[in-house]
Symmetry: C2
Protein backbone atom coordinates (compact mmCIF):
# COMPACT_ATOMS: atom_id res chain seq x y z
CA UNK A 1 0.00 0.00 0.00
CA UNK A 2 1.53 3.36 -1.02
CA UNK A 3 2.41 5.83 1.73
CA UNK A 4 2.45 9.60 1.88
CA UNK A 5 6.23 9.39 1.35
CA UNK A 6 5.74 7.52 -1.93
CA UNK A 7 3.38 10.26 -3.09
CA UNK A 8 5.84 13.01 -2.12
CA UNK A 9 8.73 11.24 -3.86
CA UNK A 10 6.91 10.61 -7.12
CA UNK A 11 5.38 14.11 -7.19
CA UNK A 12 8.81 15.55 -6.37
CA UNK A 13 7.52 17.63 -3.45
CA UNK A 14 7.99 17.47 0.32
CA UNK A 15 5.83 15.32 2.61
CA UNK A 16 4.66 18.59 4.16
CA UNK A 17 3.31 19.75 0.81
CA UNK A 18 1.35 16.52 0.35
CA UNK A 19 -0.03 16.94 3.84
CA UNK A 20 -1.05 20.52 3.08
CA UNK A 21 -2.87 19.42 -0.07
CA UNK A 22 -4.71 16.75 1.90
CA UNK A 23 -5.76 19.38 4.43
CA UNK A 24 -6.90 21.85 1.76
CA UNK A 25 -4.27 24.38 2.84
CA UNK A 26 -4.70 27.41 0.54
CA UNK A 27 -0.99 28.33 0.72
CA UNK A 28 0.01 25.45 -1.59
CA UNK A 29 0.86 26.54 -5.12
CA UNK A 30 -1.77 25.49 -7.66
CA UNK A 31 0.89 23.70 -9.72
CA UNK A 32 2.03 21.60 -6.75
CA UNK A 33 -1.55 20.90 -5.75
CA UNK A 34 -2.30 19.48 -9.19
CA UNK A 35 0.88 17.38 -9.21
CA UNK A 36 0.03 15.88 -5.81
CA UNK A 37 -3.59 15.11 -6.70
CA UNK A 38 -2.50 13.50 -9.96
CA UNK A 39 0.06 11.34 -8.16
CA UNK A 40 -2.50 10.31 -5.53
CA UNK A 41 -4.76 9.03 -8.32
CA UNK A 42 -1.86 7.35 -10.09
CA UNK A 43 -0.74 5.45 -6.99
CA UNK A 44 -4.27 4.75 -5.75
CA UNK A 45 -3.13 6.29 -2.49
CA UNK A 46 -5.81 6.31 0.24
CA UNK A 47 -5.14 9.13 2.71
CA UNK A 48 -5.37 7.77 6.20
CA UNK A 49 -7.70 9.96 8.22
CA UNK A 50 -8.19 7.11 10.62
CA UNK A 51 -4.61 7.37 11.83
CA UNK A 52 -4.96 11.13 11.99
CA UNK A 53 -8.15 10.91 14.03
CA UNK A 54 -6.49 8.36 16.26
CA UNK A 55 -3.95 10.90 17.43
CA UNK A 56 -6.06 14.04 17.68
CA UNK A 57 -9.39 12.37 18.40
CA UNK A 58 -11.06 15.33 16.71
CA UNK A 59 -12.89 14.61 13.50
CA UNK A 60 -14.43 18.06 12.98
CA UNK A 61 -17.56 16.17 12.02
CA UNK A 62 -20.98 16.12 13.65
CA UNK A 63 -23.54 13.30 13.32
CA UNK A 64 -27.10 14.39 12.62
CA UNK A 65 -29.74 11.72 13.25
CA UNK A 66 -33.30 12.14 12.04
CA UNK A 67 -36.22 9.80 11.49
CA UNK A 68 -36.65 11.33 8.05
CA UNK A 69 -35.23 14.06 5.85
CA UNK A 70 -37.98 13.79 3.27
CA UNK A 71 -40.16 16.72 4.26
CA UNK A 72 -39.87 20.49 4.32
CA UNK A 73 -39.67 20.77 8.12
CA UNK A 74 -36.66 18.46 8.42
CA UNK A 75 -34.99 19.72 5.27
CA UNK A 76 -35.11 23.30 6.56
CA UNK A 77 -34.07 22.26 10.07
CA UNK A 78 -31.06 20.29 8.86
CA UNK A 79 -30.01 23.00 6.37
CA UNK A 80 -30.02 25.51 9.17
CA UNK A 81 -28.01 23.26 11.52
CA UNK A 82 -25.60 22.50 8.71
CA UNK A 83 -25.02 26.16 7.95
CA UNK A 84 -23.98 27.01 11.52
CA UNK A 85 -21.73 23.95 11.72
CA UNK A 86 -20.14 24.82 8.40
CA UNK A 87 -19.48 28.41 9.50
CA UNK A 88 -17.64 26.96 12.49
CA UNK A 89 -15.49 24.60 10.44
CA UNK A 90 -17.53 21.45 11.07
CA UNK A 91 -18.85 19.05 8.48
CA UNK A 92 -22.05 17.12 9.09
CA UNK A 93 -23.04 13.56 8.32
CA UNK A 94 -26.65 12.45 8.25
CA UNK A 95 -27.92 9.21 9.68
CA UNK A 96 -31.49 8.44 8.84
CA UNK A 97 -33.31 6.14 11.19
CA UNK A 98 -35.43 4.28 8.69
CA UNK A 99 -35.89 0.95 10.41
CA UNK A 100 -35.83 -0.94 13.68
CA UNK A 101 -32.88 -2.87 12.26
CA UNK A 102 -30.88 0.34 12.19
CA UNK A 103 -32.11 1.38 15.61
CA UNK A 104 -30.54 -1.85 16.89
CA UNK A 105 -27.22 -1.00 15.25
CA UNK A 106 -27.37 2.48 16.81
CA UNK A 107 -27.48 0.87 20.25
CA UNK A 108 -23.94 -0.34 19.63
CA UNK A 109 -21.51 2.17 21.21
CA UNK A 110 -18.87 1.42 18.57
CA UNK A 111 -21.15 2.48 15.71
CA UNK A 112 -19.64 5.22 13.56
CA UNK A 113 -22.46 7.48 14.71
CA UNK A 114 -20.57 7.98 17.98
CA UNK A 115 -17.12 8.50 16.46
CA UNK A 116 -17.72 12.09 15.41
CA UNK A 117 -17.21 15.05 17.76
CA UNK A 118 -20.88 15.24 18.75
CA UNK A 119 -24.46 14.44 17.79
CA UNK A 120 -27.69 16.26 17.03
CA UNK A 121 -30.72 13.98 17.21
CA UNK A 122 -33.85 15.36 15.60
CA UNK A 123 -37.52 14.53 16.23
CA UNK A 124 -36.94 11.24 18.00
CA UNK A 125 -37.92 10.31 21.49
CA UNK A 126 -34.88 8.63 23.00
CA UNK A 127 -36.85 7.58 26.02
CA UNK A 128 -38.67 5.18 23.74
CA UNK A 129 -35.61 4.16 21.78
CA UNK A 130 -33.04 3.00 24.30
CA UNK A 131 -33.51 1.12 27.51
CA UNK A 132 -31.54 3.46 29.74
CA UNK A 133 -33.10 6.53 28.09
CA UNK A 134 -29.80 8.09 26.99
CA UNK A 135 -27.53 7.50 24.00
CA UNK A 136 -24.83 4.82 24.55
CA UNK A 137 -21.98 7.34 24.29
CA UNK A 138 -19.96 9.81 26.31
CA UNK A 139 -19.80 12.22 23.34
CA UNK A 140 -21.78 15.45 23.69
CA UNK A 141 -25.20 15.43 22.07
CA UNK A 142 -28.39 17.43 21.97
CA UNK A 143 -31.96 16.46 21.09
CA UNK A 144 -33.86 18.75 18.72
CA UNK A 145 -37.62 19.08 18.27
CA UNK A 146 -38.07 16.85 21.33
CA UNK A 147 -38.82 17.79 24.92
CA UNK A 148 -36.86 15.44 27.16
CA UNK A 149 -36.33 15.66 30.90
CA UNK A 150 -33.19 13.49 31.01
CA UNK A 151 -31.26 14.80 28.00
CA UNK A 152 -30.12 18.20 26.77
CA UNK A 153 -32.67 19.43 24.27
CA UNK A 154 -33.97 22.33 22.18
CA UNK A 155 -37.55 22.42 20.95
CA UNK A 156 -40.45 24.59 19.92
CA UNK A 157 -43.11 24.66 22.62
CA UNK A 158 -45.82 22.42 21.19
CA UNK A 159 -48.11 22.70 24.19
CA UNK A 160 -48.11 26.48 23.76
CA UNK A 161 -48.65 26.06 20.00
CA UNK A 162 -51.70 23.91 20.70
CA UNK A 163 -53.01 26.59 23.07
CA UNK A 164 -52.55 29.24 20.36
CA UNK A 165 -54.79 27.23 18.04
CA UNK A 166 -57.30 26.79 20.88
CA UNK A 167 -57.34 30.55 21.49
CA UNK A 168 -57.87 31.45 17.84
CA UNK A 169 -60.01 28.74 16.26
CA UNK A 170 -63.57 29.78 15.38
CA UNK A 171 -66.18 27.75 17.27
CA UNK A 172 -69.79 27.18 16.24
CA UNK A 173 -72.81 26.57 18.45
CA UNK A 174 -73.83 22.95 18.97
CA UNK A 175 -71.01 21.93 16.72
CA UNK A 176 -68.00 19.65 16.89
CA UNK A 177 -64.26 20.29 16.81
CA UNK A 178 -62.15 17.69 14.98
CA UNK A 179 -58.45 17.12 15.61
CA UNK A 180 -56.80 15.45 12.60
CA UNK A 181 -53.54 13.52 12.72
CA UNK A 182 -51.44 12.01 15.40
CA UNK A 183 -51.19 8.64 13.79
CA UNK A 184 -47.59 7.43 13.79
CA UNK A 185 -46.91 4.05 12.18
CA UNK A 186 -44.14 3.13 14.63
CA UNK A 187 -44.04 4.66 18.09
CA UNK A 188 -40.27 4.18 18.36
CA UNK A 189 -39.77 6.89 15.74
CA UNK A 190 -42.18 9.47 17.12
CA UNK A 191 -41.23 12.45 19.22
CA UNK A 192 -44.41 13.20 21.15
CA UNK A 193 -44.92 16.62 19.53
CA UNK A 194 -48.44 15.74 18.35
CA UNK A 195 -49.62 14.70 21.81
CA UNK A 196 -48.36 17.99 23.24
CA UNK A 197 -50.23 20.02 20.61
CA UNK A 198 -53.41 18.08 21.33
CA UNK A 199 -53.14 18.57 25.11
CA UNK A 200 -52.48 22.32 24.81
CA UNK A 201 -55.39 22.70 22.39
CA UNK A 202 -57.89 20.79 24.53
CA UNK A 203 -56.74 22.55 27.73
CA UNK A 204 -57.41 25.92 26.14
CA UNK A 205 -60.80 24.97 24.67
CA UNK A 206 -62.13 23.28 27.78
CA UNK A 207 -60.61 25.39 30.57
CA UNK A 208 -60.53 28.86 29.04
CA UNK A 209 -63.28 28.86 26.42
CA UNK A 210 -65.73 26.58 28.25
CA UNK A 211 -66.06 24.20 25.31
CA UNK A 212 -67.54 20.78 26.06
CA UNK A 213 -64.83 18.08 25.95
CA UNK A 214 -67.40 15.63 24.57
CA UNK A 215 -67.62 17.65 21.37
CA UNK A 216 -63.89 17.37 20.65
CA UNK A 217 -63.16 14.38 18.41
CA UNK A 218 -59.62 13.12 17.77
CA UNK A 219 -59.30 11.35 14.42
CA UNK A 220 -56.24 9.35 13.40
CA UNK A 221 -55.02 10.45 9.96
CA UNK A 222 -51.73 9.47 8.29
CA UNK A 223 -49.14 12.20 7.82
CA UNK A 224 -48.86 12.07 4.02
CA UNK A 225 -50.70 14.25 1.52
CA UNK A 226 -52.14 11.09 -0.01
CA UNK A 227 -53.61 9.79 3.24
CA UNK A 228 -55.09 13.11 4.35
CA UNK A 229 -56.59 13.65 0.88
CA UNK A 230 -58.26 10.23 0.98
CA UNK A 231 -59.50 10.99 4.49
CA UNK A 232 -60.99 14.35 3.41
CA UNK A 233 -62.69 12.77 0.41
CA UNK A 234 -64.62 10.41 2.68
CA UNK A 235 -65.14 12.69 5.67
CA UNK A 236 -68.81 13.21 6.56
CA UNK A 237 -69.33 15.36 9.65
CA UNK A 238 -72.56 14.20 11.25
CA UNK A 239 -74.30 17.60 11.11
CA UNK A 240 -75.38 20.43 8.85
CA UNK A 241 -73.67 23.15 10.91
CA UNK A 242 -70.31 24.68 10.27
CA UNK A 243 -67.61 22.83 12.18
CA UNK A 244 -63.99 23.41 13.24
CA UNK A 245 -60.82 21.48 12.39
CA UNK A 246 -57.33 21.53 13.92
CA UNK A 247 -54.98 19.73 11.51
CA UNK A 248 -51.83 18.78 13.42
CA UNK A 249 -49.63 19.59 10.41
CA UNK A 250 -50.00 21.77 7.32
CA UNK A 251 -49.59 18.71 5.07
CA UNK A 252 -52.64 17.13 6.72
CA UNK A 253 -54.53 20.41 6.20
CA UNK A 254 -53.52 20.58 2.49
CA UNK A 255 -54.73 17.06 1.78
CA UNK A 256 -57.90 17.35 3.85
CA UNK A 257 -58.94 20.64 2.20
CA UNK A 258 -58.35 19.23 -1.31
CA UNK A 259 -60.16 16.00 -0.46
CA UNK A 260 -63.21 17.82 0.93
CA UNK A 261 -63.27 20.10 -2.13
CA UNK A 262 -64.28 17.05 -4.18
CA UNK A 263 -67.46 17.02 -2.01
CA UNK A 264 -67.96 20.75 -2.63
CA UNK A 265 -67.12 21.59 1.01
CA UNK A 266 -64.60 24.42 1.48
CA UNK A 267 -63.14 26.64 4.20
CA UNK A 268 -63.97 29.24 5.45
CA UNK A 269 -67.55 29.06 4.08
CA UNK A 270 -68.39 25.54 5.24
CA UNK A 271 -65.89 25.01 8.03
CA UNK A 272 -62.90 26.55 9.83
CA UNK A 273 -59.48 24.91 9.68
CA UNK A 274 -56.09 25.76 11.23
CA UNK A 275 -52.89 23.89 10.36
CA UNK A 276 -49.48 23.67 12.04
CA UNK A 277 -45.93 24.41 10.71
CA UNK A 278 -46.40 27.28 8.21
CA UNK A 279 -44.71 25.54 5.28
CA UNK A 280 -43.73 27.63 2.26
CA UNK A 281 -46.86 26.63 0.30
CA UNK A 282 -49.25 27.48 3.18
CA UNK A 283 -49.19 31.17 2.34
CA UNK A 284 -50.29 30.44 -1.24
CA UNK A 285 -53.43 28.62 -0.20
CA UNK A 286 -54.05 31.18 2.57
CA UNK A 287 -53.99 28.57 5.32
CA UNK A 288 -54.35 29.84 8.90
CA UNK A 289 -51.61 28.09 10.84
CA UNK A 290 -48.96 28.14 13.57
CA UNK A 291 -45.53 29.23 12.41
CA UNK A 292 -42.66 27.19 13.81
CA UNK A 293 -39.33 29.07 13.96
CA UNK A 294 -37.58 26.18 12.19
CA UNK A 295 -34.43 28.02 11.12
CA UNK A 296 -33.97 29.49 14.59
CA UNK A 297 -34.37 26.04 16.14
CA UNK A 298 -31.62 24.68 13.89
CA UNK A 299 -29.33 27.61 14.65
CA UNK A 300 -29.84 27.42 18.41
CA UNK A 301 -29.31 23.64 18.48
CA UNK A 302 -26.07 23.77 16.52
CA UNK A 303 -24.72 26.60 18.66
CA UNK A 304 -25.59 24.79 21.89
CA UNK A 305 -23.87 21.61 20.70
CA UNK A 306 -20.72 23.53 19.73
CA UNK A 307 -20.67 25.11 23.20
CA UNK A 308 -20.98 21.65 24.76
CA UNK A 309 -18.13 20.36 22.61
CA UNK A 310 -15.99 23.25 23.84
CA UNK A 311 -16.93 22.45 27.45
CA UNK A 312 -18.69 25.74 27.97
CA UNK A 313 -21.71 24.20 29.71
CA UNK A 314 -22.18 22.63 33.08
CA UNK A 315 -25.93 22.91 33.47
CA UNK A 316 -28.67 20.97 31.79
CA UNK A 317 -29.80 22.53 28.51
CA UNK A 318 -33.55 22.77 28.08
CA UNK A 319 -34.10 25.44 25.45
CA UNK A 320 -37.67 26.28 24.47
CA UNK A 321 -38.69 28.42 21.48
CA UNK A 322 -42.09 30.02 21.02
CA UNK A 323 -44.29 29.51 17.93
CA UNK A 324 -46.57 32.19 16.50
CA UNK A 325 -50.19 32.11 15.26
CA UNK A 326 -50.67 33.23 11.64
CA UNK A 327 -54.25 34.15 10.72
CA UNK A 328 -55.06 33.88 7.02
CA UNK A 329 -58.25 32.84 5.27
CA UNK A 330 -59.29 29.31 6.30
CA UNK A 331 -60.29 29.93 9.94
Amino acid sequence: MPSVKDVAKLANVSVGTVSKVLNNDPTVKQKNREKVLKTIKQLNYVPNIYAKSLSSRKTKMISIVSSTLGDEFHERLVSSIDQILSENGYDSIFFSLLSRERLKRFSNPSHFLYQTDGLIVSSLSLTKMFENKTLPTSKPYILVDTRDALNDCAFIDNYYGGKLVGQNIKLYENSKVYILGGYEPDEAFSSGVFSERIIGFIDELVNNRGFNRKNIVIMKVGLSLKESYEFGKKFTPNQRHKFSVFALSDIIAFGFIEGMKTLGIKPPDNYSIIGYDDLSYSENIELSTVRQPIEELGKVSAELLLKKINNKFEDKIHKSLIPEFIERNTN
Copy 2:
Protein backbone atom coordinates in the same frame (compact mmCIF):
# COMPACT_ATOMS: atom_id res chain seq x y z
CA MET B 1 -7.73 7.12 28.21
CA PRO B 2 -9.31 3.78 29.22
CA SER B 3 -8.59 0.74 27.06
CA VAL B 4 -10.61 -2.35 26.22
CA LYS B 5 -8.53 -4.17 28.87
CA ASP B 6 -9.65 -1.72 31.56
CA VAL B 7 -13.26 -2.36 30.58
CA ALA B 8 -12.77 -6.14 30.70
CA LYS B 9 -11.04 -5.96 34.08
CA LEU B 10 -13.65 -3.76 35.74
CA ALA B 11 -16.57 -5.71 34.25
CA ASN B 12 -14.88 -8.95 35.29
CA VAL B 13 -15.15 -10.51 31.83
CA SER B 14 -12.61 -11.42 29.14
CA VAL B 15 -11.39 -8.96 26.49
CA GLY B 16 -13.03 -11.28 23.96
CA THR B 17 -16.41 -10.76 25.61
CA VAL B 18 -16.02 -6.97 25.46
CA SER B 19 -15.09 -7.27 21.81
CA LYS B 20 -18.15 -9.43 21.14
CA VAL B 21 -20.42 -6.87 22.81
CA LEU B 22 -18.88 -4.11 20.68
CA ASN B 23 -19.55 -6.17 17.57
CA ASN B 24 -23.14 -6.97 18.54
CA ASP B 25 -22.39 -10.67 18.72
CA PRO B 26 -25.67 -12.39 19.70
CA THR B 27 -23.86 -15.23 21.52
CA VAL B 28 -22.96 -12.99 24.49
CA LYS B 29 -25.09 -13.62 27.58
CA GLN B 30 -27.51 -10.77 28.28
CA LYS B 31 -26.10 -10.38 31.80
CA ASN B 32 -22.53 -9.95 30.51
CA ARG B 33 -23.71 -7.61 27.79
CA GLU B 34 -25.33 -5.33 30.35
CA LYS B 35 -22.25 -5.41 32.61
CA VAL B 36 -19.98 -4.44 29.72
CA LEU B 37 -22.21 -1.62 28.47
CA LYS B 38 -22.52 -0.24 32.00
CA THR B 39 -18.75 -0.31 32.47
CA ILE B 40 -18.19 1.39 29.11
CA LYS B 41 -20.42 4.24 30.26
CA GLN B 42 -18.76 4.36 33.66
CA LEU B 43 -15.23 4.62 32.23
CA ASN B 44 -16.25 6.89 29.33
CA TYR B 45 -14.57 4.33 27.11
CA VAL B 46 -14.63 5.23 23.40
CA PRO B 47 -14.38 2.07 21.28
CA ASN B 48 -11.75 2.58 18.65
CA ILE B 49 -13.20 1.68 15.27
CA TYR B 50 -10.51 3.76 13.64
CA ALA B 51 -7.83 1.31 14.71
CA LYS B 52 -10.05 -1.56 13.64
CA SER B 53 -10.65 -0.02 10.22
CA LEU B 54 -6.95 0.65 9.90
CA SER B 55 -6.19 -3.05 9.92
CA SER B 56 -9.07 -4.44 7.88
CA ARG B 57 -9.72 -1.37 5.74
CA LYS B 58 -13.33 -2.49 5.51
CA THR B 59 -15.86 -0.21 7.14
CA LYS B 60 -19.03 -1.99 5.96
CA MET B 61 -20.35 1.48 5.29
CA ILE B 62 -21.40 3.12 2.04
CA SER B 63 -21.51 6.87 1.39
CA ILE B 64 -24.63 8.16 -0.34
CA VAL B 65 -24.31 11.65 -1.83
CA SER B 66 -27.33 13.59 -3.01
CA SER B 67 -28.04 17.23 -3.78
CA THR B 68 -31.15 16.94 -1.63
CA LEU B 69 -33.14 14.40 0.35
CA GLY B 70 -36.09 16.70 0.88
CA ASP B 71 -38.46 15.39 -1.76
CA GLU B 72 -40.39 12.20 -2.40
CA PHE B 73 -38.23 11.08 -5.35
CA HIS B 74 -34.99 11.17 -3.39
CA GLU B 75 -36.53 9.86 -0.18
CA ARG B 76 -37.88 6.80 -2.01
CA LEU B 77 -34.65 6.33 -3.97
CA VAL B 78 -32.47 6.46 -0.86
CA SER B 79 -34.82 4.21 1.16
CA SER B 80 -34.63 1.63 -1.58
CA ILE B 81 -30.81 1.81 -1.81
CA ASP B 82 -30.59 1.63 1.96
CA GLN B 83 -32.76 -1.46 2.15
CA ILE B 84 -30.56 -3.46 -0.24
CA LEU B 85 -27.39 -2.32 1.53
CA SER B 86 -28.86 -3.24 4.89
CA GLU B 87 -29.86 -6.70 3.66
CA ASN B 88 -26.24 -7.20 2.67
CA GLY B 89 -24.82 -6.10 6.01
CA TYR B 90 -23.87 -2.56 4.98
CA ASP B 91 -24.79 0.64 6.74
CA SER B 92 -25.23 3.86 4.81
CA ILE B 93 -24.24 7.43 5.58
CA PHE B 94 -25.78 10.37 3.77
CA PHE B 95 -23.86 13.37 2.57
CA SER B 96 -26.01 16.18 1.32
CA LEU B 97 -24.42 18.57 -1.12
CA LEU B 98 -26.07 21.76 0.01
CA SER B 99 -23.47 24.32 -0.94
CA ARG B 100 -20.48 25.12 -3.10
CA GLU B 101 -18.47 25.30 0.13
CA ARG B 102 -19.15 21.61 0.70
CA LEU B 103 -18.49 20.77 -2.94
CA LYS B 104 -15.02 22.20 -2.39
CA ARG B 105 -14.49 19.99 0.66
CA PHE B 106 -15.64 16.97 -1.37
CA SER B 107 -12.79 17.61 -3.82
CA ASN B 108 -10.40 16.71 -1.03
CA PRO B 109 -9.47 13.01 -1.38
CA SER B 110 -9.01 12.67 2.39
CA HIS B 111 -12.62 13.69 3.11
CA PHE B 112 -14.52 11.09 5.11
CA LEU B 113 -16.78 10.63 2.10
CA TYR B 114 -14.07 8.50 0.52
CA GLN B 115 -13.21 6.45 3.61
CA THR B 116 -16.20 4.13 3.35
CA ASP B 117 -16.21 1.00 1.18
CA GLY B 118 -17.90 2.70 -1.76
CA LEU B 119 -20.11 5.56 -2.91
CA ILE B 120 -23.48 6.09 -4.55
CA VAL B 121 -23.87 9.58 -5.98
CA SER B 122 -27.43 10.58 -6.80
CA SER B 123 -28.75 13.17 -9.26
CA LEU B 124 -25.52 15.10 -9.65
CA SER B 125 -23.56 15.69 -12.78
CA LEU B 126 -19.94 15.01 -11.88
CA THR B 127 -18.75 16.33 -15.19
CA LYS B 128 -19.79 19.75 -13.96
CA MET B 129 -18.54 19.25 -10.41
CA PHE B 130 -14.91 18.20 -10.68
CA GLU B 131 -12.27 19.29 -13.10
CA ASN B 132 -11.15 15.85 -14.20
CA LYS B 133 -14.76 14.62 -14.43
CA THR B 134 -14.34 11.75 -11.97
CA LEU B 135 -14.40 11.56 -8.17
CA PRO B 136 -10.99 12.06 -6.49
CA THR B 137 -10.88 8.50 -5.15
CA SER B 138 -9.92 4.97 -6.08
CA LYS B 139 -12.91 3.57 -4.14
CA PRO B 140 -15.70 2.02 -6.22
CA TYR B 141 -18.63 4.31 -6.92
CA ILE B 142 -21.70 4.53 -9.10
CA LEU B 143 -23.77 7.49 -10.27
CA VAL B 144 -27.54 7.22 -9.96
CA ASP B 145 -30.20 9.17 -11.86
CA THR B 146 -27.45 10.59 -14.06
CA ARG B 147 -26.34 9.50 -17.52
CA ASP B 148 -22.57 9.81 -17.69
CA ALA B 149 -20.22 8.57 -20.38
CA LEU B 150 -17.08 8.51 -18.21
CA ASN B 151 -18.41 7.00 -14.98
CA ASP B 152 -20.38 3.89 -14.04
CA CYS B 153 -24.02 4.87 -13.80
CA ALA B 154 -27.64 3.72 -13.49
CA PHE B 155 -30.51 5.91 -14.61
CA ILE B 156 -34.04 6.03 -15.92
CA ASP B 157 -34.09 6.92 -19.61
CA ASN B 158 -35.24 10.54 -19.57
CA TYR B 159 -35.02 10.99 -23.34
CA TYR B 160 -37.42 8.06 -23.77
CA GLY B 161 -39.66 9.47 -21.02
CA GLY B 162 -39.85 12.77 -22.89
CA LYS B 163 -40.75 10.88 -26.08
CA LEU B 164 -43.56 9.06 -24.20
CA VAL B 165 -45.07 12.42 -23.25
CA GLY B 166 -44.66 13.59 -26.86
CA GLN B 167 -46.46 10.48 -28.13
CA ASN B 168 -49.39 10.82 -25.73
CA ILE B 169 -50.02 14.51 -25.16
CA LYS B 170 -53.22 15.87 -26.74
CA LEU B 171 -52.52 18.58 -29.32
CA TYR B 172 -54.93 21.29 -30.48
CA GLU B 173 -55.08 23.02 -33.85
CA ASN B 174 -53.34 26.40 -34.11
CA SER B 175 -52.40 26.07 -30.49
CA LYS B 176 -49.23 26.15 -28.44
CA VAL B 177 -47.44 23.55 -26.34
CA TYR B 178 -45.79 24.81 -23.14
CA ILE B 179 -42.91 23.05 -21.38
CA LEU B 180 -42.73 24.08 -17.71
CA GLY B 181 -39.64 23.75 -15.54
CA GLY B 182 -36.01 23.21 -16.14
CA TYR B 183 -34.87 26.10 -14.02
CA GLU B 184 -32.07 25.03 -11.70
CA PRO B 185 -30.69 27.67 -9.34
CA ASP B 186 -27.12 26.36 -9.50
CA GLU B 187 -25.93 24.36 -12.48
CA ALA B 188 -23.29 22.56 -10.41
CA PHE B 189 -26.04 20.65 -8.61
CA SER B 190 -28.12 19.67 -11.62
CA SER B 191 -28.03 16.32 -13.34
CA GLY B 192 -29.23 17.12 -16.85
CA VAL B 193 -32.39 15.01 -16.57
CA PHE B 194 -34.65 17.93 -17.49
CA SER B 195 -32.77 18.72 -20.70
CA GLU B 196 -33.06 15.09 -21.77
CA ARG B 197 -36.82 15.07 -21.18
CA ILE B 198 -37.19 18.26 -23.20
CA ILE B 199 -35.13 16.94 -26.12
CA GLY B 200 -37.04 13.63 -26.27
CA PHE B 201 -40.36 15.47 -26.12
CA ILE B 202 -39.52 17.96 -28.86
CA ASP B 203 -37.99 15.25 -31.09
CA GLU B 204 -41.21 13.26 -30.90
CA LEU B 205 -43.53 16.24 -31.50
CA VAL B 206 -41.56 17.70 -34.40
CA ASN B 207 -40.24 14.59 -36.15
CA ASN B 208 -43.04 12.08 -35.61
CA ARG B 209 -46.17 14.17 -35.12
CA GLY B 210 -45.26 16.99 -37.51
CA PHE B 211 -45.81 19.70 -34.89
CA ASN B 212 -44.32 23.11 -35.64
CA ARG B 213 -41.26 23.75 -33.44
CA LYS B 214 -42.18 27.45 -33.34
CA ASN B 215 -45.30 26.62 -31.34
CA ILE B 216 -43.36 24.89 -28.56
CA VAL B 217 -42.53 27.33 -25.76
CA ILE B 218 -40.10 26.46 -22.95
CA MET B 219 -40.84 28.39 -19.75
CA LYS B 220 -38.49 28.47 -16.77
CA VAL B 221 -40.38 27.61 -13.57
CA GLY B 222 -38.84 26.89 -10.16
CA LEU B 223 -39.14 23.34 -8.84
CA SER B 224 -41.09 24.06 -5.66
CA LEU B 225 -44.86 23.87 -5.18
CA LYS B 226 -44.80 27.53 -4.16
CA GLU B 227 -43.06 28.73 -7.31
CA SER B 228 -45.16 26.68 -9.72
CA TYR B 229 -48.36 27.81 -7.95
CA GLU B 230 -47.35 31.47 -8.30
CA PHE B 231 -46.49 30.83 -11.95
CA GLY B 232 -49.89 29.22 -12.64
CA LYS B 233 -51.72 32.05 -10.92
CA LYS B 234 -50.22 34.56 -13.35
CA PHE B 235 -50.10 32.42 -16.48
CA THR B 236 -52.04 33.89 -19.40
CA PRO B 237 -51.76 31.84 -22.57
CA ASN B 238 -52.08 34.25 -25.48
CA GLN B 239 -55.11 32.55 -27.06
CA ARG B 240 -58.66 31.36 -26.47
CA HIS B 241 -58.01 27.81 -27.69
CA LYS B 242 -57.25 24.81 -25.56
CA PHE B 243 -53.52 24.37 -25.13
CA SER B 244 -51.10 21.65 -23.99
CA VAL B 245 -48.63 21.57 -21.09
CA PHE B 246 -45.72 19.25 -20.31
CA ALA B 247 -44.72 19.85 -16.67
CA LEU B 248 -41.21 18.44 -16.17
CA SER B 249 -42.11 17.18 -12.68
CA ASP B 250 -45.35 16.28 -10.89
CA ILE B 251 -44.67 18.95 -8.26
CA ILE B 252 -44.63 21.60 -11.00
CA ALA B 253 -47.89 20.15 -12.35
CA PHE B 254 -49.54 20.21 -8.87
CA GLY B 255 -48.67 23.85 -8.28
CA PHE B 256 -49.51 24.98 -11.81
CA ILE B 257 -52.93 23.28 -11.78
CA GLU B 258 -53.81 24.80 -8.38
CA GLY B 259 -52.56 28.23 -9.43
CA MET B 260 -54.58 28.21 -12.67
CA LYS B 261 -57.67 27.05 -10.76
CA THR B 262 -57.72 30.48 -9.09
CA LEU B 263 -58.33 31.85 -12.63
CA GLY B 264 -61.09 29.29 -13.20
CA ILE B 265 -58.98 27.39 -15.76
CA LYS B 266 -58.82 23.61 -15.27
CA PRO B 267 -57.65 20.45 -17.02
CA PRO B 268 -58.88 18.58 -19.01
CA ASP B 269 -61.67 21.04 -19.97
CA ASN B 270 -59.52 24.08 -20.65
CA TYR B 271 -56.13 22.51 -21.30
CA SER B 272 -54.21 19.22 -21.30
CA ILE B 273 -51.35 18.63 -18.89
CA ILE B 274 -48.94 15.73 -18.32
CA GLY B 275 -46.49 15.59 -15.41
CA TYR B 276 -43.39 13.48 -14.71
CA ASP B 277 -42.48 11.17 -11.77
CA ASP B 278 -45.82 9.65 -10.65
CA LEU B 279 -45.53 10.69 -7.01
CA SER B 280 -47.89 9.09 -4.48
CA TYR B 281 -50.30 12.06 -4.55
CA SER B 282 -50.52 12.14 -8.37
CA GLU B 283 -53.06 9.33 -8.43
CA ASN B 284 -55.35 11.27 -6.07
CA ILE B 285 -55.58 14.29 -8.34
CA GLU B 286 -55.79 12.02 -11.41
CA LEU B 287 -52.70 13.51 -13.02
CA SER B 288 -51.56 11.96 -16.30
CA THR B 289 -47.83 11.41 -15.91
CA VAL B 290 -44.73 9.32 -16.54
CA ARG B 291 -43.99 6.74 -13.87
CA GLN B 292 -40.34 6.46 -12.90
CA PRO B 293 -39.36 3.05 -11.47
CA ILE B 294 -37.71 4.74 -8.47
CA GLU B 295 -37.51 1.70 -6.18
CA GLU B 296 -36.07 -0.45 -8.96
CA LEU B 297 -33.46 2.22 -9.71
CA GLY B 298 -32.38 2.22 -6.06
CA LYS B 299 -32.24 -1.56 -5.92
CA VAL B 300 -30.26 -1.91 -9.15
CA SER B 301 -27.77 0.80 -8.13
CA ALA B 302 -27.06 -0.72 -4.74
CA GLU B 303 -26.64 -4.20 -6.23
CA LEU B 304 -24.26 -2.92 -8.91
CA LEU B 305 -22.14 -1.11 -6.32
CA LEU B 306 -21.93 -4.21 -4.13
CA LYS B 307 -20.78 -6.22 -7.15
CA LYS B 308 -18.12 -3.61 -7.87
CA ILE B 309 -16.95 -3.74 -4.26
CA ASN B 310 -16.61 -7.50 -4.57
CA ASN B 311 -14.63 -7.08 -7.80
CA LYS B 312 -17.21 -8.83 -9.90
CA PHE B 313 -17.11 -6.26 -12.71
CA GLU B 314 -14.55 -5.42 -15.31
CA ASP B 315 -16.70 -3.61 -17.86
CA LYS B 316 -18.18 -0.17 -17.72
CA ILE B 317 -21.64 -0.11 -16.11
CA HIS B 318 -24.23 1.90 -17.99
CA LYS B 319 -27.59 0.62 -16.78
CA SER B 320 -30.72 2.17 -18.25
CA LEU B 321 -34.26 1.65 -16.91
CA ILE B 322 -37.44 2.40 -18.84
CA PRO B 323 -40.23 4.68 -17.57
CA GLU B 324 -43.92 4.12 -18.31
CA PHE B 325 -46.72 6.48 -19.40
CA ILE B 326 -49.73 6.61 -17.05
CA GLU B 327 -52.88 8.08 -18.58
CA ARG B 328 -55.34 9.52 -16.07
CA ASN B 329 -57.66 12.50 -16.32
CA THR B 330 -55.67 15.70 -17.00
CA ASN B 331 -54.51 15.04 -20.58
